[in-house]
Structure formats: structure tokens, C-alpha cells
Chain length 171, copies 2
């Protein structure tokens, strides 16, 4: 069962790498249109939704806490202090590096764990439910919202940028 | 390993149930604002993105094909002929019913399967990669885009509508 948790962490790590390439395209778009790319970081789809910056911060946290909590490493939530692309991109890359440091064996026994919920004292979720119902659904939420904000602002992204590389086999 | 595929299908089924509740709120919003809720089905975040209707159709297909392909049931892709909420909502519910008909044992041996790709003859992906890299990432894409379009158009949805119920345990 460790393999499925390892695969989930690898997938979220890949999605952060994809996100990093979307930001390359966002910068290129801003240069072409002659506006400051940091403007995009404050863009949102509705006034009471997170802007791009917080979508990125949340996606980073999603991937990092997925790995850490399944492997029972305690991490504190970082302060979300970034204001510019120059500040947020190293955070994305640091999380990619952190998540890439896990081995399959780090998730041995994960399926039997109950993960406590900080926002609901006395309650927790089983690892399988954490991955499926909470962390996975939530991390994709922020990844897709980041993509949606960029597309809504004219950045030229396509499904291939979203999905990234595929592990194909011959049949 | 069958359990993880079963859990994935259950999760996508739950997300379609959540989507159905988002549409309840969309209808309520349209009634309050006195516009035809079917207008929302043609809303998109960018002119070269799918409108809400196609996001819903794609999310339905994502869940259905996830279950069917892992269990090696051959299904044809339905014609996307729906034009109204009255037409698309029965499709959502039919897919929920179809996906709910699977048992864990339907996925026995799934981990050893290679799933052929219709759009890339001679190539396929392993079940684990199908779930993680392709179907999962793609189905969440369309679910979150549907949510994003509704939010962008003023429908009052929150994270709880997106996540739905959680399988909590006492600790």
C-alpha cells in the first residue's frame, strides 16, 4: 500500500513542476503585453476567492503536507509572506525538492494511520480518506484555480501544460 | 490494491454528487437574480476554454471511464447533445448510479493492467498512472473548472460545497 501514497506524492510533485512552467508562460505573456507579471498574483476569479498568490501557496502546502502527514513528519505551516514571483517561485521549488526527497518506504504502514485534524480537535481521518477526500481534492482545487486564473488573464496554456509528461508504455 | 481503485471511483462519484449540489445553488442564484440558469451552461472563463456544459460533460466522462477502464468494461463515449440543465442533470445522476454499482472486487488485478490510449495507437498507461497522471488530474480539472465558472458568475459556493462530507473518526 505504500506505493499508492508514494505515487500520490510523486503526482502532486509533478503538478507543482507543471505549475512552475505555467508561471514561465505567465511571465512571457506579461513581457509580450508589457505589464508587470506580479499583477497576475493579485488576480482572482471572484472578489471573495483567493488570488493567484494564495492559490500557489495553498498548492505548495497541499503537496508538502500530503507527503509529511502520511509519513508522520511534523511540519509547521509557513507564513504566507511572499509578494512577488521572485519570492514565490523559490517556495514552489523548495516544496518540489522536499517532496522529491521521500522514498516509497517512508510510507510503509501509512494505510493504518489516522491523521489528526488541526481545525477539528479530537477528530481525524484515515490515510486513505486524507488522500482522497481531503488533501487530493483540495490540492487539485488550488492547482486548477491557479491555472484558471492564468487562462482567464490570457496566458496561453493548454491541457498539455496542465497534464505534463505521461508515463507511456508500448502495447 | 483493488481498494485504492475502488476508493478513487468512490471519490469521483462523491465529487459528482457535490457538483449536483453546486447546480442546485446555481439554479437558486439564477432565480434570485431573475435570469435563466441555462445561461450559466454557456459561460466560460476564456473564449477558448470549455463552457460549463462541457466541463460537466467531461467530469461525468472522467468518473465513468475511470471506473469502466480500470474494471475493463468497454463503454463508448456518449454524444454530448445536452443543451439545458434539465438534460444534463439526469446524465450526472446516471453516472453517479453507474459508478456506484461497482464493487471493490471489480478492481481485482487492476494494478497489473495497461490501459490503451484511444488517441495514441500502440501506446497505453499502467493503471496507477492512468489514475494519477491522466484520469484523476483531468477529472479534477473539469470539476474545479465547473466550480470556478459558477463562482465567477456569482453563485454562492464555498469550500464545504466543494469538498462535501468527510469520513471523520474520533481520536
Amino acid at each position: 500500500m505504500a506505493s499508492q501514497y508514494f505515487a500520490t506524492v510523486q503526482q502532486l510533485t509533478k503538478m507543482l513542476k507543471n505549475l512552475d512552467t505555467w508561471l514561465d508562460k505567465a511571465v512571457a505573456h506579461a513581457e509580450k503585453k508589457k505589464f508587470d507579471p506580479n499583477v497576475l498574483l493579485q488576480s482572482r476569479l471572484a472578489p471573495d476567492m483567493f488570488p493567484l498568490m494564495q492559490q500557489i501557496q495553498s498548492a505548495c502546502d497541499g503537496a508538502k503536507f500530503c507527503a509529511a502527514r502520511l509519513a508522520v513528519f511534523v511540519l509547521t505551516k509557513p507564513a504566507d509572506t511572499e509578494k512577488t514571483l521572485e519570492e514565490i517561485r523559490p517556495r514552489i521549488r523548495a516544496v518540489i525538492e522536499y517532496c522529491s526527497s521521500f522514498k516509497e518506504s517512508d510510507f510503509d504502514g501509512a494505510e493504518a494511520r489516522v491523521i489528526p485534524l488541526g481545525f477539528m480537535p479530537g477528530k481525524g481521518v484515515r490515510a486513505q480518506d486524507f488522500v482522497q477526500e481531503m488533501n487530493g481534492a483540495n490540492t487539485y482545487f488550488h492547482l486548477v484555480m491557479a491555472y484558471a486564473i492564468l487562462r482567464h488573464n490570457g496566458v496561453e496554456l493548454g491541457k498539455q501544460d496542465y497534464i505534463g509528461s505521461l508515463n507511456l508504455v508500448d502495447i
